[in-house]
């Protein structure tokens, strides 16, 4: 018994040493933009879109598992591998586009922070600078381990959504039915919503971040199985949270007659008369947490892979003096993201965020195809290449993601009013 206990303890310790990158990366997917999309889906279509979460989870797992595997086996970041295989120029343009895309994303994170805090009654002129400073200090003064621990705690705060959802008293049977029974209906609005839900799932930067984080963590090949669980648990967590967000909005905003919501903070406000003050605050708290969390990881990831790809020293473990380019880039992205929200009104932020979405959509095919080609290289991956079956699944998934993401890009230029 004692021996078994000890065995269990050792396994737990190894798991804790491996866990992190997968869970963190997947959770950042539920950022301000994600929460808004889910809120709109629940508010306008009730429980009828919940079924999309299952295939989305599978797709997310398939893609993220491959990057984590590449990180563990090669010990190199994705940007490193792309640079070694496809040369400087390709890498450079990839990095520049990612930088622009992520700048846009960072702006929307800070906008989400402002909108979440306004529900609690804090003006954005206080919330945004405070958030930016917090995020900056965290990374500049942290080591990889301490930063990761804080990020993992941030993942736990997503519990705010399930609680908020329980307070909203959704009809659980309807919700479960909506999750397992695909409900297809015609109408461009419904189709747009599906594209929105799926298209925001896999962003190019996530692949770079996950692989670099796995590398920095130093996961050994023999512990790879645990790393895979890290990815799987993370992806499931993410979509469980998405489920609760959709269900909460379906139970309240949708059930009470239709309401359009402008941003995720709006959704929190709309919950108040229907599900009570607590549910509304929890929803807003979740948004604030998600925004700060994503606002620290996105610039971090961007700085990471840009430095990696261009061969400049990077890493949270390095000091300011050892990796000046890395920290300057990180600081600039945080500062520009925060300043844009403070100085530009919403009308002016829209084109930037649109641009970043378009660039994300254009980049994703490249990143996924590079990824699939790299992971099938024998000299890099050896026995850890994709097998035939997995390759078919992976290609189908990636092509589907590419098509839906491009569809999302196209749809942003031809907005239809979502009405039912």
């Amino acid at each position: 018994m004692n021996k078994r206990l000890r065995h269990f303890r050792t396994n737990m310790l190894i798991f804790l040493a491996v866990v992190g990158p997968g869970i963190i990366t997947a959770n950042v997917d539920n950022d301000a933009g994600g929460i808004y999309t889910y809120s709109v889906a629940g508010a306008t279509f009730g429980y009828s879109l919940l079924w999309t979460l299952l295939p989305v989870t599978v797709a997310l797992i398939v893609v993220q598992e491959m990057v984590a595997r590449m990180g563990v086996v090669t010990g190199k970041g994705l940007a490193d591998l792309i640079r070694e295989e496809y040369g400087f120029r390709t890498t450079f343009f990839l990095m520049v586009m990612l930088l622009i895309a992520d700048l846009g994303n960072t702006i929307s994170e800070f906008a989400g922070l402002a909108s979440g805090m306004s529900v609690i009654g804090v003006a954005r002129y206080i919330a945004v600078p405070l958030g930016a400073v917090l995020v900056w200090v965290l990374v500049v003064h942290g080591t990889y381990r301490s930063v990761e621990k804080i990020f993992l705690v941030a993942c736990l705060f997503y519990i705010a959504y399930p609680i908020s959802c329980f307070l909203a008293h959704p009809q659980w049977t309807n919700a479960l039915e909506g999750t397992v029974v695909p409900y297809v209906r015609s109408g461009s609005a419904y189709l747009y919503m599906i594209i929105g839900l799926v298209g925001t799932t896999i962003a190019p930067w996530m692949q770079f971040y996950l692989q670099s984080a796995v590398v920095e963590k130093g996961v050994k090949i023999k512990d790879y199985k645990l790393s895979r669980w890290d990815v799987i648990v993370g992806c499931i967590m993410t979509d469980v949270v998405a489920f609760f967000i959709i269900a909460a909005c379906a139970a309240t905003i949708f059930a009470s007659g239709h309401r359009s919501i402008r941003d995720a903070g709006d959704a929190a406000l709309a919950l108040r008369p229907l599900a009570g003050r607590a549910a509304s605050y929890l929803f807003a708290f979740g948004l604030v947490n998600a925004s700060i969390f994503s606002a620290s990881i996105l610039p971090l990831a961007t700085a990471y892979y840009v430095c990696e790809g261009l061969g400049v020293e990077s890493g949270v473990n390095k000091s300011l003096r050892e990796a000046p380019a890395f920290y300057s880039l990180y600081t600039a992205i945080v500062a520009i993201g925060a300043l844009a929200v403070l100085l530009l009104n919403e009308q002016k932020q829209v084109p930037i965020i649109l641009l970043s979405q378009v660039i994300n959509g254009i980049l994703l095919p490249f990143v996924l195809i590079f990824m699939l080609r790299l992971i099938n290289r024998e000299d890099l991956m050896g026995d850890y290449r994709n097998n035939r079956t997995f390759n078919i699944i992976a290609w189908v998934t990636c092509v589907a993601m590419i098509v839906l993401t491009l569809a999302l890009v196209v749809s942003t230029f031809f907005p239809t009013k979502i009405t039912v």
């Binding site: 010990g75 400087f88 050994k220």
Partner: protein, 413 residues
Amino acid sequence: MIHFTELEHLPVYDVKGEYLGQLDELCVDPSQNALRIALYLVKSPNKTVLRIPYDQVQSISMLAAQTTVPAASLMVHAPDEGLLRVKKDVVDQQIIDVNHRKVVRVNDVDFDIQPSDGHAELRIMSASVGLAAAVRRLLQGTMAKHRIRALTSLLPSKNIPWEFVNLIEPDSSRRVKLRISYERLSELHPADIADILEELSRDEQKALVEGLDDETAAEVISEIPTELQAALLESLPAEKAADIVEEMPPDEAADVLQEMPPETSAEVLADMEKDEASEVRSLLGFEERTAGALMTTEFVMVGEDARLEGVIAALRNFEGKLEAVHMIYLVDAGATLTGVVPLAQILLADSSTPLKDLSMDPLISVEAHTNEKRVVDLFHKYNLVALPVVDDKSHLIGVVTADDVLEVVVNHD
């Protein structure tokens, strides 16, 4: 000087001026000459790759290259592991800049054109890593070469002379063929080599450790975090791992073996010399986070009646690290610890003084199961540099030194 970015895709003509194709790759044959380009690979319009030996290149410049022989006498190239390929093995890859002690990624490679009777030779001069080289890569092929030159000459460039470039090749047989040695690298301070090591991927780390001699490898490995030590040693053949562990101080050897899976550490222990293995084994028995787990078994011990000459004899026979000789430990006939004398004190005193009289007062020691926190407190309170560890019968079994304590303190922060 000419850059690889200016040579890639260069049109190549044969002796009669007939177009052969584009220059695709430059190869060095390290078994012949470490700097000279031995082979020029040319991609012909029908996609075959022709090889031109260095002595058949009549001229080469930014504009074109010409051979000394007709097209018909050129052979088709077959891959050869023993050749160093500039484009494939150097450009865009990570190398170690031995001079600046860091790992960098190569943007471009610089050559020197040297006329040699009847033909022109290219010699590798340096690897470029700076901004100028990056811009050259970006602009390559988009505008005239002299324009790119003029433009990039305004930018800061950073070249690593080839003699300071250490290539990293994970495949050990290819490393031998390419004559990659880590001789220059092993002259650096082990802590610097350790920093370089931590920058690399696991296969590359393995390659580097395999390329170092056992003693240097042990010193380098002692400088990296324990988990990484274990992962690295596990990836090596047990025999090589044993050779390296033998060279490590016994306390660190025990720490790293404890971190490995039991089967692997047993294998390593079995491959070690008997004496070293039993020393390490005795340390493995101690509970984590105790004085026993921290201590080393390398220390200088003499009988309590000894005098200066006895100490000198003991020091001459001592095989451990020099840091371990600051304190001399006195034991009685039954191996019970009776005193501790600083080496400096012995040197300052009269050579006939019995060591017993120089002993520090009070005699501070701990038992092996003492918690490491208590050990740290004692070091702090009494300003110790070393602390003897005894078993339940007061027999001296080891010594905790200040560097071990520093590690505990730093890691707990």
